[in-house]
Each structure stands twice: as structure tokens, then as C-alpha cells.
């Protein structure tokens, strides 16, 4: 009996140790994977979602207007096409800055 019990008792802790080792390894792996996918509080999923959210759609009305960015360029086109110039003059560039 003792001889039967001994190996059994002996196997139990071994199995537990292996299970613990596996669990610890899994946790360590998950922690590493999680850490490598995070930048502080940002996760890769948040990064992807926010990066997509923080893009201006190309069809936003003001972006469909063929703005010139130089007065001389506008002057030449206005002279060629006999059109008036509409100037949007701001503090900071109106197409960027803010």
C-alpha cells in the first residue's frame, strides 16, 4: 500500500507543480503579450479604433473646395478665368492649424 500510495502521493505534487508551472507560464505569457500590446493605458485595439476615428473624411464639404494656398496662384487663375477671388484669411492656417 505504501508503495502504491507513495508514487501516487509523489505524482500528485508533481502534477500540481506542473499545473502551477503551466498556469504561471500562461499568466506570464499573457502578461507579456498584454504588455507588448499596450502603451501605458492604450491597447492595440484602442489605438486602431482611435486612429481611424481621428481622420477627417475626404468628402467633408470644406475639403471638396479647390482651395489655393497662395495669393499669387489665386491671382493668376482669377486673371485667366475672369473670376473674383474669395480669400479666407485667418490667424493660423485655415486648412490646418486648428
Amino acid at each position: 500500500m505504501p508503495s502504491q500510495r507513495k508514487p501516487r502521493l509523489g505524482r500528485l505534487p508533481t502534477n500540481l507543480t506542473l499545473t502551477r508551472l503551466l498556469a504561471v507560464s500562461l499568466l506570464a505569457f499573457l502578461a507579456h503579450a498584454s504588455e507588448s500590446a499596450r502603451g501605458g493605458e492604450l491597447t492595440m485595439a484602442e489605438f486602431r479604433e482611435l486612429h481611424q476615428q481621428l481622420q477627417v473624411p475626404a468628402d467633408t464639404p470644406w475639403r471638396t473646395i479647390p482651395w489655393k494656398t497662395a495669393m499669387l496662384d489665386a491671382q493668376r487663375t482669377a486673371a485667366q478665368q475672369a473670376k473674383p477671388i474669395f480669400i479666407w484669411a485667418m490667424d493660423g492656417h485655415p486648412l490646418g492649424c486648428t
Partner: protein, 300 residues
């Protein structure tokens, strides 16, 4: 910001600008100062209006002929008013000699290098866009609502040597500092104060296996304004050049500047995206706001 989402969101105004006008968008802080043909032509027009002191702002909407005759100055963005004025001035233009007379095209006889900035050769242009994610009090005010949902836009310029460092998988200190000082800002409600070097309490950015990670702590001496973002992103390199730079900085921001009032109370979440520009957007060619007046200081 307000103009984009009000005046230039009006379908009729957009159509008029596309078909009947030559639209031009400028940072008048440059044109009213620059000593060249570009500046001379702007000052010729603006000088006929009420804001003819070029030591101060001349911002607003102008309508003018190619010969430089001012037809309209207006600093009211209400779409109905702008629409009415555009029609009135078009009728005035059509009835004038300007509609039929041949006007000489101006050439750039003089170019003031201080105000004609090009991105660094062999460097990169990265789009920067910011948004306040939460924290505003609910509002029914139309203009305040535009600010509260605003997405800002600026460009980050990267020098050739910094570009090559990124290719090698390094995030150079100069680029980290520039990013912190001029681009980790809340510019969603107007021109923001940039950070001084002393206000960078910490910034630490790294690239590992194509992934950008980092944290920063920016704060004024008195602690009235600050930002504590984390950064995460992706850099891809092909044939010795960066072909993808996507990054997000997100964290708590607090405080505001003289021209960015109306911020949420206390700490609020601010997110800023960085995206490699491909030249498809008109704004890709604009110099960074932080380079205005001192490109060397911006790029150092």
C-alpha cells in the same frame, strides 16, 4: 474650425466657391508681414478694408478682383449672410469691367524666404489630428457644439536624419522633443500655447519590432496646464524609407491657453493621431503651426 463646420459646410456656398470664384485660404499672419510679391498683393487688397493696420490681425473673408480691387470685407461667418454677400458681389463683379477686361498675371518677382517654407528634403510630413474625447458640459449652443466635436489638423515635419533614425528603429531625441513641444497640444478650439522645453517633465518613446510605445508628462510650472499621454503606434519601413507611421497619443489633459478657452473643467481625455502624409490632402503642404516665424527653432 467654426468656419469649416458652418460657412463652408453650406452647400450653396461650397458650390459658388467651386464654380464662380477662385478660393484661396491663407494664414494672414504671414501675408501681412512678408516682403515679397505675395505679401504686396495681399496687403494691396486688405489695405482697402477696415483692417489696414498690418501690425495687427487682418483676418476675415475678402472678395477681390485679379487686379487687386477689394469688393468685400466681412468677418461674419453666418452662412446666410455670407451667401447673400457672395451673390451681391458676384453681380457687382459681372457688371464691372473686371469681368471682361484682361488682367495681367503676377509673377513672383520677390520671394521672402521666411514665409515660403518647404518640408525638409528626404524627411517626412506626418499629419497630426487631435480631438477631445469627453468632459464637455452638454450644450445647445451651435458654435460651442462645433468646438466640442472638433478635430484639429497640423503637420509634423521630420528631418532627413530623423527619418533615417526611424528606419533604423530608433526614435531620436530631437523628434521626441519636437513632438512633445509642438504636437502634444490641445489645438481643438483655436491656436494653442506650445510647450517650452522646461515644461517637458518627461518623454520616453521607443520603437521595438515596428511598434512605437511611449509616455510623456508635460506641465507648466504652476501646474495649470498639462498633459500625460501614452503613445502606441506602428512604423513600417520599406527599401530604406518609412512607408507607414500610424500612432495615437492619448491621456489626460488639463487647462487651456489664451486662444483655446472653453476647455472642459479639470482633467479630460485628449487623443492625438499621427499619420504619414501622402500628399493627397491640400493641408499636407502646410508648414507646422509651431514653425511659424522660426523654422530653425522648430526643427532643431
Amino acid at each position: 474650425m467654426l468656419d469649416r463646420e458652418s460657412t463652408f459646410a453650406d452647400p450653396e456656398i461650397v458650390n459658388l466657391l467651386k464654380t464662380r470664384f477662385v478660393p484661396v485660404a491663407i494664414d494672414q499672419a504671414n501675408q501681412r508681414r512678408q516682403q515679397d510679391t505675395e505679401g504686396d498683393f495681399y496687403r494691396k487688397i486688405a489695405g482697402q478694408g477696415p483692417r489696414s493696420d498690418f501690425n495687427g490681425t487682418t483676418q476675415g473673408f475678402y472678395i477681390a478682383t485679379a487686379a487687386g480691387k477689394l469688393l468685400l470685407y466681412n468677418n461674419n461667418r453666418d452662412p446666410a449672410k455670407v451667401r447673400r454677400l457672395m451673390h451681391e458681389k458676384l453681380a457687382e463683379f459681372d457688371a464691372s469691367d473686371a469681368a471682361t477686361a484682361r488682367t495681367s498675371e503676377l509673377s513672383a518677382a520677390k520671394v521672402d524666404a521666411r514665409y515660403n517654407l518647404d518640408p525638409p528634403a528626404d524627411g517626412l510630413v506626418i499629419r497630426v489630428q487631435a480631438k477631445v474625447l469627453d468632459g464637455y458640459e452638454p450644450t445647445t449652443n451651435r458654435w460651442r457644439a462645433i468646438f466640442q466635436s472638433a478635430l484639429s489638423r497640423d503637420n509634423l515635419w521630420v528631418t532627413a536624419s530623423e527619418h533615417q533614425a526611424l528606419v533604423r528603429g530608433e526614435f531620436p531625441r530631437s523628434l521626441q522633443t519636437r513632438m512633445a513641444r509642438f504636437h502634444l497640444v490641445d489645438n481643438t478650439r483655436g491656436e494653442p500655447p506650445m510647450w517650452s522645453e522646461k515644461e517637458i517633465r518627461n518623454i520616453d518613446m521607443q520603437i521595438r519590432d515596428g511598434q512605437v510605445t511611449g509616455t510623456a508628462h508635460l506641465e507648466t510650472a504652476q501646474g495649470k496646464r498639462g498633459f500625460e499621454p501614452s503613445m502606441l503606434g506602428v512604423v513600417e519601413v520599406d527599401q530604406g524609407a518609412v512607408v507607414r507611421f500610424d500612432m495615437v497619443a492619448k491621456g489626460d489633459f488639463w487647462g487651456a491657453g489664451p486662444y483655446t478657452g472653453g476647455a472642459p473643467a479639470g482633467r479630460f481625455p485628449l487623443a492625438i493621431s499621427f499619420t504619414l502624409a501622402d500628399g493627397s490632402d491640400l493641408a499636407d503642404r502646410l508648414p507646422p503651426q509651431g514653425s511659424r516665424g522660426w523654422l530653425r527653432g522648430y526643427l532643431r
